[in-house]
């Protein structure tokens, strides 16, 4: 079965259940936005509609194959780290169990070499196996400080992304320094198995990128291309496909349920009336059906152009909030790399991102991230949502958009594919407050951020950066290194002021 088709009618993928658990927990737990769709999923028969699309099934569920091995030196150990007192059997049993558990939870098919590899011949055979079977990644658990040269062989001779788990006791800085900064390699030198699991999550995220087809709804063209390096398919479809499809979506039971939940779970409803919410729910159903029809897993639309041309009664802002909360990338303004950046937080960090316009607040030297849609499950798809207020779209006064209230004091990470797949901007900061409209103009969700290591807020790189909860700089940079993507950061120091010429 073709992995990219899984979301439509898959019943055979052994990791399907885990895949959905991992990626769409919002549909399984209690929350603000989720229950409507959760209820929809459970009560599909209630709608009796052959066109019904379960949002959870839109997610890509790729096959991820990983080769794994334990590298050790011939026993018994005598001097040299990890030392004679190190209980090899106990540690290996522990790490094998953790590897099996991580593989199961992440839906990764791991092929662990049956016995530890302890000589050059064994390494050679392992390398030949990798070359023949071409797994998506390799994970090596190191059990001796003398095995590091073998890792260099593995990465050089196979070219397959390499994850190294080096528990404390098998490395000095000199062993780790160089290889841990090499493209195609991720080294976790720690006792924390979760760091190794982060590497496995990177493999999975890359495969999800590869199995994703993003609908690029803009202009009049219909074609399909593939992004360099990350492998995501980009299907361009004419913009009016959306509004023509929207016009055909009636106010079904599903639509009314979504609209009702939208209002019920809001902290406040300011401008939108019931019909606005019905229309917003129709936008969600339209988007789901379009993705299903086009075998797509994500979308980015020229929404502002459609609103400008008055082709729809509401921008899709709230529909996008719901999709984002389910891990489905829904990007604004047909900004393809903005959508890819949203996808990064969803697939790698397991939480929605918030694509925004960057605004400098020069009196307080803060960055304001401002747009009319944001996910609400900021802490993770399986975590409770944060409060939101239903507003209209500020630029047009139409329909429904979301003011999501980001909790002050929380760390955030800003990521952005720098208008090409080979570069990602990564910065971090802390939420200071939410800006209300009015008195401010601009977009409804508006979050003040104190940037880390950026002297002047005017110098933050990028536009339509994606803000996501937590400090994930190291994992994003590690992902970049594993897949030879250049990480960039905003300048730490402000430029010298220009001097007026005399």
């Amino acid at each position: 079965m073709n992995p990219s088709h899984h979301h439509h009618d898959c019943h055979c993928c052994i990791s399907r259940r885990d895949c959905l658990k991992f990626l769409s927990m919002s549909a399984l737990g209690a929350g603000v936005v989720g229950p409507a769709l959760s209820a929809v999923a459970k009560e599909k028969s209630k709608y009796a509609n052959p066109d019904y699309v379960d949002v959870g099934k839109l997610l890509p569920c790729p096959e991820v194959r990983m080769a794994a091995a334990i590298f050790e030196k011939p026993r018994p150990y005598w001097l040299g780290w990890p030392g004679t007192t190190y209980d090899l059997d106990a540690r290996q049993k522990e790490y094998k169990a953790k590897l099996a558990d991580s593989s199961r939870r992440l839906g990764i098919k791991t092929d662990l070499a049956p016995n530890p590899i302890n000589d050059e011949a064994g390494v050679g055979a392992f390398i030949e196996k990798i070359k023949a079977e071409k797994p998506h990644g390799v994970l090596v658990i190191l059990q001796s400080i003398f095995c590091w040269p073998w890792l260099a062989r593995v990465t050089k001779e196979t070219g397959v992304p390499l994850i190294v788990f080096a528990p404390i006791g098998v490395a000095f800085t000199g062993h780790v320094g160089r290889i841990s900064r090499q493209p195609g390699v991720y080294v976790a030198s720690t006792l924390e198995w979760s760091a190794a699991e982060d590497g496995m999550r990177m493999l999975r995220a890359k495969r999800m990128f590869e199995e994703t087809r993003v609908l690029w709804i803009r202009g009049k063209e219909r074609n399909e291309t593939v992004l360099d390096r990350i492998g995501t398919k980009v299907r361009a479809i004419p913009r009016d496909t959306f509004n023509l499809a929207f016009d055909k979506v009636p106010a079904t039971v599903e639509v009314r349920d979504v609209a009702s939940d939208m209002r019920r779970h809001a902290k406040r409803v300011v401008e939108p009336n019931s019909q606005d919410c019905i229309n917003s729910a129709r936008a969600l159903i339209t988007a789901k059906r379009l993705m299903a029809d086009e075998k797509a897993n994500a979308l980015s639309m020229d929404c502002l152009g459609m609103v400008s041309a008055k082709l729809v009664p509401t921008p899709p802002c709230f529909a996008w909030t719901i999709l984002q909360d389910h891990g489905i990338t829904a990007g604004c303004e047909a900004d393809l790399y903005g959508a890819m950046s949203l996808m990064l937080t969803s697939y790698l960090l397991n939480r929605p991102g918030y694509m925004n316009d960057p605004v400098p607040e020069t009196a307080k030297n803060l960055l304001i991230a401002s747009h009319c849609t944001s996910g609400t499950r900021l802490r993770g798809f399986d975590k409770p949502p944060v409060p939101y207020i239903l507003r209209n779209h500020s630029e047009s006064a139409l329909g429904v958009s979301t003011q999501v209230l980001w909790p002050p004091g929380e760390k955030v990470t800003l990521v952005r594919f720098n208008n090409k797949p080979g570069e990602i901007i990564v910065d971090t900061g802390t939420v200071v407050s939410n800006v209300n409209t009015p008195p401010a103009g601009g977009c409804r969700t508006s979050v003040e951020i104190k940037m880390d290591k950026v002297e002047d807020c005017r110098d933050v790189l990028g536009f339509h950066q994606v803000v996501t909860f937590g400090d994930h700089k190291r994992i994003v940079e590690a992902f970049c290194q594993l897949y030879d993507i250049k990480p960039l950061r905003s300048p730490e120091r402000a430029p010298e002021p220009e001097v007026k010429k005399t």
Binding site: R222, N223, E224, T225, V226, D228, A236, L488, E498
Partner: protein, 362 residues
Amino acid sequence: MAAAEPVQFTSPGFPSSQMDAVGQLVEDWGAIGVKLSGEGVTEATPAVAAVKLDGVVPAAQAVSRHGAVALTLTAFRSPAFPAGVDVLTVRVEEKQGRAANVTVALDLPAKAHAGLRTVRLGGRAVLTLPPREESGEKARDWGHCDEASSLRGWAKPAGPCDPAFRNIRAGMGGAPILYRFAVRPKSEANVVLGFCESHWAEAGQRRLLCRVEGAPSQEVDPIAKWGRHKPGALLFKARDEDGDGRISVTVLAATDAKDKNPILNVIWIFPAGPPPNLNQVIAGKLNTVATRRVEVGGENDQPLYPGGKLEYRLSLAARGSQELTFLAACHGSVAPIPDASAWTAETLRRAAREVWRDWQER
């Protein structure tokens, strides 16, 4: 297999390219032809036909027998974002059971300029080449191997300095400047790069990233560091790190550079050991000590590969075969630049397969 009919191919939603009746790949910028020569190699007319790769990808194929060897040209469109790229595979197979040396020559439009990995036409990268090092083509001891332009007399160095500062090579359109110098494998050297910025008056415009093999990279803003028309120099402790007997020197625009066109004025190579005094280097007083001094873009500059036809020399084992893959710009696209792209023949083919597999005309 039917002969003498051109075959069109494309990817979903894009204009077609074509392989003509004599097996040339025809693009909006010109045609690419492939010719074979060598002992036992004869002239032949190909049979051109439409084929499907992997059962789904439309392609054109030209097959011909040239005495001792068979030639198969296969072209398909890979849907590389944003407008695709045409992949031309040249497969040469020995057929008579004797090892053979065969030269594959590319016929390109007269004004095409071949660099190390790309061919440009009027500033547009139109063809990505297989690595020239593997071509069997003999390289000089040193030279540039990039798509930059030589501009003599561009700089106006103020004050006494080596006259080589007057000239530059400039990577118009963001092309990196790349030189290679033959050295003893794994050996070390002191490499000095000389700069003189004469266009910009303010700092923050043309920031340069300089990479010399074996040494840490250095970023420099010539105006901020030295000023307009002021010659300056950077020292690198170089080493032939990969042991290929060459030290590479690359100058490119820094990521945050507003002016993306890198420049370079002079290169000096000094023996390893104590670093040369940079003021004396700039003044040209250590030229006789240097093992190599290059007036970049000036009179004694040269390309790494001599001009002439673009040729690849293949050594075929008996019944053996070899393949070369070229990536051609198609309508509305440019050829991938190897330094900036991760595309490979394998990933381009997979992209085509996956896109055609799920495509439905509407």
